[in-house]
């Protein structure tokens, strides 16, 4: 059994208000199916507006799809009773693109990282402190940073805090929704390395949502490309993606900027 199974999910947005014309629905996901195995990273590629983030939300249990089902460890998150849902939700965490808006600015690092622990675990104050120190260290920050507030961190550091919060409960799957896109290149590389290390040491699985082909290839085992709410290509590895004949995939690959001025594609 796969860790996560997405079966024929269809979702649409639109005005449901009865004062508006009915039927003005915009389909953002149509018949999407994919699966993630334990310990695997699935890269979800696509241009903006392809429905990547909506799929992420649907998987996280934040948005009930119109059709289809999401099976996380064999259980449908939207159909189960609240207590099972709460238990499963523990193994399902997320890191979003904008690191500053995904934390409460009035909480310090310790409170931010400690929040999931407080929700799910009953730790003594000493254990709580110790696990926060360990989490900070595992994302490459020092335990002295625990008292700092979000505005005192740089974007890269704060994204690490977000990652620390996501791994606090030793989840099984983390949805990374453009988690490295807002970082500069040096920080991006650091965070990608960190994610790769954590994946091996904690046996994590990722759904890595991005529009950056290079970042997706460096972290993912398998890749899925979406366009206009549909999965148009799924590949086992990056060489299959490069060899793909689908025009959208080709366009995506062409838009990778060259690594050296000699191989410029502009001009």
């Amino acid at each position: 059994m796969s860790l996560l199974q997405v079966n024929n999910v269809t979702h649409s947005y639109g005005a449901t208000n009865r004062f508006w014309r009915a039927g003005r629905q915009k389909t953002v996901l149509s018949d999407v199916s994919l699966s993630i195995e334990q310990g695997e990273c699935l890269g979800l590629l696509g241009t903006s507006g392809a429905g990547k983030s909506t799929l992420g939300k649907v998987i996280l249990g934040l948005e009930k799809p119109r059709k289809g089902q999401i099976l996380f460890q064999g259980v449908d998150l939207y159909e189960t009773n609240p207590s099972t849902r709460r238990r499963l939700r523990r193994d399902l965490q997320a890191v979003f693109q904008d690191c500053y808006s995904s934390v409460n600015p009035r909480m310090n690092a310790e409170q931010i990282i400690g929040e999931p622990l407080q929700n799910y675990e009953r730790l003594s104050p000493n254990e709580h402190r110790r696990s926060i120190s360990m989490l900070l260290e595992s994302v490459g920050l020092s335990p002295e940073d625990r008292g700092k507030y979000p505005h005192q961190f740089s974007g890269g550091q704060l994204q690490r805090i977000n990652i620390a919060r996501a791994i606090a409960l030793k989840p099984k799957l983390i949805v990374l929704d453009e988690a490295v896109s807002s970082l500069d290149m040096v920080n991006q590389t650091h965070v990608l390395h960190l994610l790769d290390e954590l994946k091996t040491s904690f046996g994590l699985s990722y759904l890595f949502i991005t529009h950056d082909v290079k970042a997706a290839c460096s972290l993912s085992n398998s890749l899925v490309v979406m366009e206009k709410g549909e999965v148009i290509e799924s590949c086992e590895d990056q060489s299959q993606l490069i060899a793909s004949s689908h025009p959208t995939v080709k366009k995506l690959l062409e838009s990778i900027l060259s690594e050296h001025p000699r191989s410029r594609s502009i001009n």
Binding site: S48, G49, D184, V186, K214, I256, P261, S263, R264
Partner: protein, 277 residues
């Protein structure tokens, strides 16, 4: 300082300090570079290295009450540092234009794109509203925006990020400035839009001979566009070289670190390398 007429923009010994309650803090130190007509100078560095402060200080957009600026900025032989605010306003947008990172924040959300566009044109020229409208439509057409006349009636939020960024480029180029400062022009865009916007900038440079100061943290953007590169760190330029020399023989330790930080896609575009060499 030797004033060289071949340089559109000549910056030398630029220091910017901010006055705080704890004393003055240097933001950028001893920045010097030249920009020749029709060339692209890339400034690269990680966040917090002073790239944006450099661009804002060139445009004199920093708050003069809290900022100390020393050094010389010469645009077409004219000193900008210390220029009166109203004089600077007539230069900004006409002779030197800015393309900002986030197009969604660069426009006023409650005013139609067309009105904002026409306002920019009419402040700097004696054109009538109708002529300004026509100029705006032609420029938008130039940057490959579909149905420019229709776009003029829309509000910024009705356009996608990539389209809005192209509108911003159109606003920047419509008065044919001699220098465009592009501060992370593609960071907020996805890969396909990024390439389109870069192509557009490249075309403007080759067609109108506009010089571009391209600020980015992405070495891919720099590799595609720049003729010369300045690497910034902690408010200083640590290395400045021709783009080929910088990528082939980086001198400074930090440049080497930056170059090795790029995530590589193995066997990416092998055929192209082969054809080029």
């Amino acid at each position: 300082m030797i004033i060289d007429p071949r340089h559109v923009l000549q910056v030398s010994g630029l220091h910017v300090k901010v006055r705080t309650a704890q004393g003055t803090v240097p933001l950028i130190q001893d920045i010097s570079f030249e920009l020749k007509p029709g060339r692209v100078l890339g400034i690269v560095g990680e966040s917090g290295s002073g790239k944006t402060i450099t661009s804002l200080s060139l445009l004199q957009l920093l708050d003069r009450k809290t900022i100390d600026m020393a050094g010389s900025i010469r645009l077409n032989g004219r000193e900008l540092n210390g220029l009166k605010a109203d004089k600077m306003r007539s230069i900004r947008g006409k002779e030197i234009a800015l393309i900002m990172q986030n197009p969604m924040n660069a426009f006023t959300p409650v005013i139609k794109i067309g009105d904002q566009f026409i306002e920019t044109i009419r402040i700097h020229t004696a054109l009538t509203k109708k002529q300004a409208f026509e100029l705006a439509v032609t420029t938008m057409h130039d940057v490959n925006l579909p149905e420019p006349a229709g776009l003029m009636k829309l509000y910024p939020f009705q356009l996608s990020g990539g389209m809005l960024q192209r509108v911003m480029i159109a606003v920047a180029i419509c008065l044919r400035p001699s220098v465009i400062i592009a501060d992370e022009p593609t960071t907020a865009l996805d890969a396909t839009n990024q390439l389109q916007v870069l192509r557009q900038l490249e075309r403007i440079r080759s067609e109108y001979g506009t010089s571009i100061l391209l600020i980015s943290h992405d070495l891919g953007v720099i590799a595609e566009m720049a003729d010369e590169v300045a690497v910034m760190r902690h408010g200083r330029i640590v290395e400045q070289a021709d783009v080929y020399r910088l990528f082939d023989h980086p001198q400074h330790e930090y440049t080497k670190k930056l170059l090795s930080a790029r995530p590589a896609l193995q066997d990416n575009k092998p055929s192209k390398e082969f054809v080029m060499s």
